[in-house]
Symmetry: C2
Subunit: 472 residues, 2 copies
């Protein structure tokens, strides 16, 4: 981290346009890796070519769109209060912008080998903020990570920037991560992965002499609330939409709908049947690595044996570590409410339908849930309007609410919020998707009565960067 800290001292002074140019070149260099990168990633992750090509495009879009946001400068949240020398006491000239936190440690995720790994969202945001980055490669795709890291290194070289602005490390053991988080030079941490992994990082970071921010995205069951009238309009189509969403990428998405909460009506019964039938028709998929497959088998088996659970998908297709078949379970709300195991995420193509007697019971189920990345409501506008209290509960529990859709598919845009109350993430006040993610790696700083020529460009009287500014 000492090397990263030295590189930071230089990199923090780069202009927004230099950082943006670097990020665009990283995108180009990743593209230039061509089919070789896709082939390596296919071998290491078992993800299909089409998915990986889409994810590579998403990664490049992140780099390029965050570069544009970096230059636009809205993330700097510039405010200016000009002086009033005649006031008693005189009001000074105060100008506020953002300054980078310092060296950032990024832990690549296994389920997005490009978009939330080596040169993924966290790295892009940290570079845009002016931070140096140390990536710990995910041990499930070390060659993919190495290949992307070389693309980043080439981009730094092209822009004559210090190579240590981006440092890439390997290591399967816990101890590398621990040393990185505890290093006094480290000023922030980005992580996407399991609850246990995220909490280990969080606790190390909080126990340091100087505690530091940890942005850990740790999991979510993404509850879906079904209302009768909307469900009845086209139950078969909704069932197909959810069969696809639950099994997308062998269910290995943080926004996978893991709990579906409905009212005990004929429409829900039809939905259960249809969803189970359509999930039975989905072929087995190979998971990212043996650890995830084994965890899926264990969590799924545990869920299947809980009190009151009915297995709706074909029992002959019971998931095993080698045989990752989709799984649909059902339980009554009263059984669900007394068993917190059923709230735990089964990371993979599994979902649990919770059947409520009435809207009051549905509210109780909603209130019992932990913090989530997303919640979804399947309802007519009229139905939703009647559910003001439920909507308030949901709003307290998540970072994004979807109306008549599926939670999978996280748009990369300014208005996206990808982050939710604990334990979905360790810091619900920030997003890990969209250019607002840059704000995670910077903090405000005010300059009082400074000579204009020594101010950061975005604060100068002439506004040479032409950024949006609030002037008081």
């Amino acid at each position: 981290m000492h090397r990263s800290c030295n590189a930071f001292k230089l990199f923090q002074k780069t202009s927004l346009s230099t950082r943006a140019a670097l990020m665009r070149t990283i995108a180009k260099e990743i593209e230039a890796l061509g089919d070789r990168l896709i082939e390596i990633a296919m071998r290491e992750t078992h993800l299909p070519e089409g998915r990986l090509k889409n994810e590579r495009a998403r990664t490049m879009h992140q780099l390029v769109s965050y570069a544009a946001a970096c230059e636009r400068g809205d993330w700097l949240n510039v405010s200016i209060c000009t002086s009033s020398p005649d006031r008693v006491p005189p009001r000074p000239d105060i100008r506020k912008t953002m300054t980078p936190l310092g060296p950032v440690v990024v832990f690549g995720s296994s389920n997005f080998p490009f978009a939330y790994s080596t040169a993924g969202g966290d790295t892009a945001c940290a570079l845009a903020a002016g931070c140096s980055v140390v990536v710990k490669a995910h041990p499930a795709h070390p060659e993919t990570s190495e290949c992307v890291a070389q693309a980043v290194a080439r981009a730094l070289e092209i822009h004559h920037l210090p190579k240590d602005v981006f440092i890439h490390l390997h290591g399967a053991s816990f101890s590398v991560g621990e040393a990185l988080v505890k290093d006094p030079h480290t000023q922030a941490v980005g992580f996407t992965g399991s609850y246990s992994g995220g909490m280990a990082l969080f606790n190390w970071a909080q126990q340091r002499k100087q505690p530091i921010p940890v942005f850990a995205e740790m999991g979510s069951v993404n509850p879906v609330f079904l209302f009768n009238q909307q469900l009845s309009t086209d139950v078969d189509a909704i069932a197909q939409q959810y069969a696809d969403s639950i099994t997308l990428g062998v269910g290995q998405f943080c926004t996978n709908p893991g709990i579906i909460i409905g009212l005990d009506t004929p429409a829900l019964h039809r939905f259960k049947e249809q969803l189970a039938m359509r999930m039975n028709a989905i072929p087995e998929g190979k998971m990212l690595h043996d650890g995830i497959a084994k965890a899926y088998e264990q969590r799924a088996s545990r869920a299947m044996t809980q009190k009151g659970i009915t297995v709706l998908t074909e029992n002959s297709r019971k998931p095993t570590a080698k045989n990752c078949t989709p799984l649909l379970l059902s339980v009554t709300a009263s059984n669900f409410l007394e068993n917190t195991i059923l709230q735990e995420e089964v990371f993979g193509p599994a979902s649990l339908i919770v059947v409520c007697n009435d809207a009051t019971e549905m509210k109780r189920v909603a209130a019992s849930l932990d913090g989530q990345l997303t919640s979804t409501v399947i309802a007519t506008a009229a139905e939703l309007k009647e559910q003001g209290e439920l909507l308030s509960i949901i709003q307290q529990k998540c970072g994004r609410i979807i109306f008549n859709g599926v939670p999978t598919g996280v748009e990369v845009c300014q208005a996206m919020q990808h982050g939710g109350p604990f334990p979905a993430t360790t810091d619900s006040r920030f997003t890990s998707v969209g250019p607002d993610g840059i704000r995670r790696f910077a903090r405000p700083i005010a300059f009082q009565n400074f000579p204009d020529e020594l101010l950061p460009d975005e604060l100068k009287a002439a506004n040479p960067l032409n950024v949006n500014r609030t002037i008081e």
Copy 2:
């Protein structure tokens, strides 16, 4: 906290204008307390009438200006990405705003019995964000706090809002605070006070099943860097300015300049003499309470006996718990660098001059410092221009940099940053002064494909609140 949580459920749904109206009424009700409030506060805090009247005006200004900011809605950081149904896959409509965190616990500070206590900055920001508030009164001014709490209660009644939106508790023991922070309903904590107090709250909050944000402002020595040319222009005036700043409010300000770093030149010698002489002329003052006075005596005595320390103020005026005289010390940079005790804040009218041999040594002193609320540079523009490296170090260490001024006097405005790297505060990414402080108590939430009529007003197509919005 259960009562606060129930009140929150209703209060979170109030409109921005209702919250703003409440805050304006609180200001009016505080004003209506008239001289009685000032008299009680004078008796409890030993602060003079003029200072307390100014602080009451500041408190009202905070309430009224944060109310305006609440209604203006910039803090909501609204972004809208409209849908593109023709894109493959179709882009959904996504709209992002802020939602309040939940019940907030505020610990009043002793040194600002109005402005950072009961209805002070933290309470004003939390109410603006839509949070309910539980205030633990500072045991050094319980009657003042009770009086202000009654004003808040009357304002809630006038606006027909639940009384539990604001709950006021007393308690001198640690255990009340511990119970409040550990209560699962509590969603954030605001605190201004000592390092040990702030860290106790921070650690309790991080060790909860659900960790929560703690905004603790814990202390700062606010380093001042003196350069020769500027110092020489008017050394006597600068000495007077600093004698006033160091002793303002008997030195009981978080922005009190506790360390002054200069170069070993005739101008600095003159400054030392002049500052000592002017500080000797300042009468003794009575501190806020016995605990603070005793801590001042202990810290001052300890600092005076460190290796290489010279006492510049009159030794006959040595501080005691009953006799809070200003204290000016001096030490060489080499002695300072090897003794971390000299970095510790002596809360009161004391300052330490650190004499450096050259600019390189000054940079080493700067690099050795902990995180700070502020740093000040006394220099000509030409001198500052030569100190690019020092300025980078300073920028990494603080939340506000002042050019040719004093750190005391924290303007309440949009561009203010009052907060700095740990250990000055526990979260350098937020400010506790100025309307941006509202952002501490809210988090982003996105609405995807929502019916317009069910969106929060600030997200509706017609923008009925007329807030600034970023549209993509």
